[in-house]
Symmetry: C2
Subunit: 429 residues, 2 copies
């Protein structure tokens, strides 16, 4: 498949963070040529890039995609009550069909708002993988491990099922399996060790909730005599393949431990603020220590969207406010988190995260002809402080258009929204 | 002019916060009938309300509308440097033409994102009034007073010009003049007293920046021996007609003073966070004291949008995070701020802020058929946590459609965006 995007403004996110005006030629998954001059070639798709901004597809480094069905189902509640009264009862009713519909809804929302890659952590990850493969988004499929078992598998079945899952999803083109021990308070040392073993054996990533709430830190400390980061370090999981999510309650020494181990951090400001976990992930200190940071939305049940533009604005603003410092986390840094930073978190920065010749063509286009994007003094500023997911009109993954000028090519919009509504009602009735 | 909205879901925001499904008949500026049964009548406009959410137009209680031209012109900067190097030099170049274009751009953005009323504070307010009258939005025109003069008028001309302005704009249908002494540190006792005098004489509102930064509070205290609220109280400006904006650094006693005086508070969380003023307006305490609270975006130069949906989400989340309390400022409270609360701030709660028979028809419609608004467990939650300005498809002010299913009826979209771009470039070159 080949695509030509003509006469557009390109925010490359390359090493020099160049902005260009020109043309992009995509063939067979890759960006073949970026040129200021017209490229005289016949392609399957020709896209008019005038008044459009082209940038790398956004990378969401933490979500629970089927939970999109629970958007707005329980808000303004204390975490434990929310889980016990709202989330867990519904999760216990999930089955292949509802997970399929929830996944499709989440993918639709992500494609519509310019997210081309996501790191998931959930149950029924087999279904999530199949649907994602069919729809065409790039997915990192985190198979969740919990010592007490999941809605899908009993405690004793989990690890063997996990390894089978990893075997099946290895060496796929757009998809990668990830081992996702849920958290340090739900996974004992044995599960942590086994997770690392499988990750090393198959050379895949690890993903874990870590230091999200103060209570979690106390609980882990009481149980193991170590804080969550310490526990991970002890069992060797603070390694290069680890993507830690949240890190709202980490110390300066823990930042150094993360750095030494080479682990990455997924920052989820909207969910943290909405659940009111109290912690502020020390993003400026993490950057200073050269730790790689990506952004995540978390599940739509606690956000309540999968809109990475929304997450970028919250990220930039919450740290400014918290530090009384308008200079901290400038727009370019936040755009980096959502693009090349996310790619680095997942070890695919040579393939995606920027628009460069030879890299995979994960590309999105925003319509700049909007009141809230006028005038255009600074496009990087606009991405963080003014743009919305709805400004995205075209989303291309691995050279294949999934949304083209507002039309979805691999999903049935009307049918899906109707099914999702029906399925959500059934699950919560 | 008459409008019939058929078969829609209505978030009335009436006293009982009722949600209805039915039909709305608007004639000659007013909501004449709300009925569950079809209303058999011929009207100028018939709007299909299926899969649409109808709610009162949003009320933005603080902005500087021509500054929309400076969106993204200076970000990630310290306040004083931003003002001195970016904002003031451009403001000194403003003239009737640029203010006209900036105002139109701001109005376009507000109409597009469902804001039907705004409280402005700026210079060239005469032009802003004329343009707003022509475009058809409801406007509260704050004539800014600064002791050292404004880009429009010298210090000695200001007060006479202000009173002339008030005389001219009184008794208009959609517009009201407002006296807007800029702040306590820029307006001495004499200007404050004169402002109050004019406000009382003409029975109009007052609007002032108050306790936005800690530095301001110290400055005022050093100069006058009183904090900003104390200074306003001393000169009688803490009255029912006063809309205080920001209040990020107020004490418990000052909350009581505001309550006693009957003043209202405009909360601008996005701008406060972006400029990193450090203060958190004590909104939960203000509510507890029964002080009326409205929401504002502030100017697009420090937000960087005029999107009240964005402001609602930031409002709900920043206080949750700050207090470690997910229950504080639930969605319904925040929707109240943006609708009936704003109306109360401006003393027009009998006319606007809710959809009820006999009230003015300031009505907006959201398209619910969107991935990020699916499923629909809770529409009030969706307005605050999931919706974006771009979900608004129809905006009606005083019974007159200004945007109808995405089309602007009183503004030339293409031409305006082009002019705004050109004008902004000229101003900043």
């Amino acid at each position: 498949m080949s695509v030509l995007i003509k006469d557009c403004t390109i925010l490359t996110q390359n090493e020099r963070r160049q902005q260009l005006h020109g043309n992009i030629y995509v063939e067979d998954k890759e960006v073949v040529q970026i040129s200021k001059k017209p490229i005289p070639i016949e392609t399957d798709y020709k896209i008019d890039g005038r008044k459009k901004l082209v940038l790398p597809g956004l990378i969401n480094t933490h979500t629970h995609i089927p939970m999109t069905l629970l958007r707005g189902y329980g808000d303004d509640m204390v975490l434990q009550k929310w889980l016990e009264e709202k989330i867990w009862p519904v999760e216990s009713k999930l089955n292949n069909e509802s997970v399929e519909i929830g996944t499709k809804l989440g993918l639709l929302e992500m494609i519509a708002s310019g997210t081309t890659s996501f790191l998931d952590m959930y149950f029924f990850e087999e279904i999530i993988g199949k649907i994602t493969e069919k729809i065409g988004t790039r997915g990192f499929l985190g198979f969740a491990l919990i010592d007490s078992g999941t809605p899908e598998y009993s405690a004793e079945d989990l690890l063997p099922k996990c390894e089978q899952f990893v075997r099946r999803w290895k060496n796929k083109d757009l998809l990668q399996p990830v081992i996702a021990p849920h958290a340090i308070y739900t996974c004992g040392p044995e599960t942590l060790q086994k997770s690392l073993e499988i990750a090393n054996k198959h050379d895949i990533h690890l993903h874990i909730h870590c230091s999200e709430t103060r209570e979690e830190v106390y609980d882990v400390q009481n149980r193991y005599g170590l804080r969550p980061i310490g526990q991970l370090k002890k069992y060797g999981l603070l390694c290069k393949k680890m993507v830690l999510v949240h890190c709202g309650w980490i110390t300066k020494n823990e930042i150094l431990d993360i750095k030494k181990g080479g682990s990455k951090v997924s920052h989820n400001p909207v969910s943290n603020m909405k659940i009111a976990t109290g912690g502020y992930a020390p993003i400026p200190e993490l950057i200073e220590a050269n730790v790689t940071v990506g952004l995540g939305t978390d599940g739509a049940a606690s956000n309540n969207t999968l809109d990475m533009f929304d997450t970028m604005k919250f990220c930039a603003l919450v740290h400014k406010q918290h530090r009384w410092d308008p200079i901290v986390l400038p727009a370019q840094t936040v755009v980096d988190f959502a693009t090349i930073g996310g790619a680095k978190c997942l070890g695919v920065e040579k393939e995606i995260g920027s628009i460069e010749e030879g890299k995979k063509a994960d590309i999105i286009m925003l319509d700049l002809k909007k009141p809230h994007l006028t005038p255009q003094h600074d496009l990087v500023s606009h991405l963080v402080y003014s743009a919305r997911g709805s400004d995205v009109v075209t989303t291309i993954v691995s050279g294949k258009p999934l949304m083209l000028e507002g039309e979805f090519l691999t999903l049935n919009y009307d049918e899906l929204l109707e099914n999702a509504e029906k399925c959500a009602k059934e699950l919560t009735s």
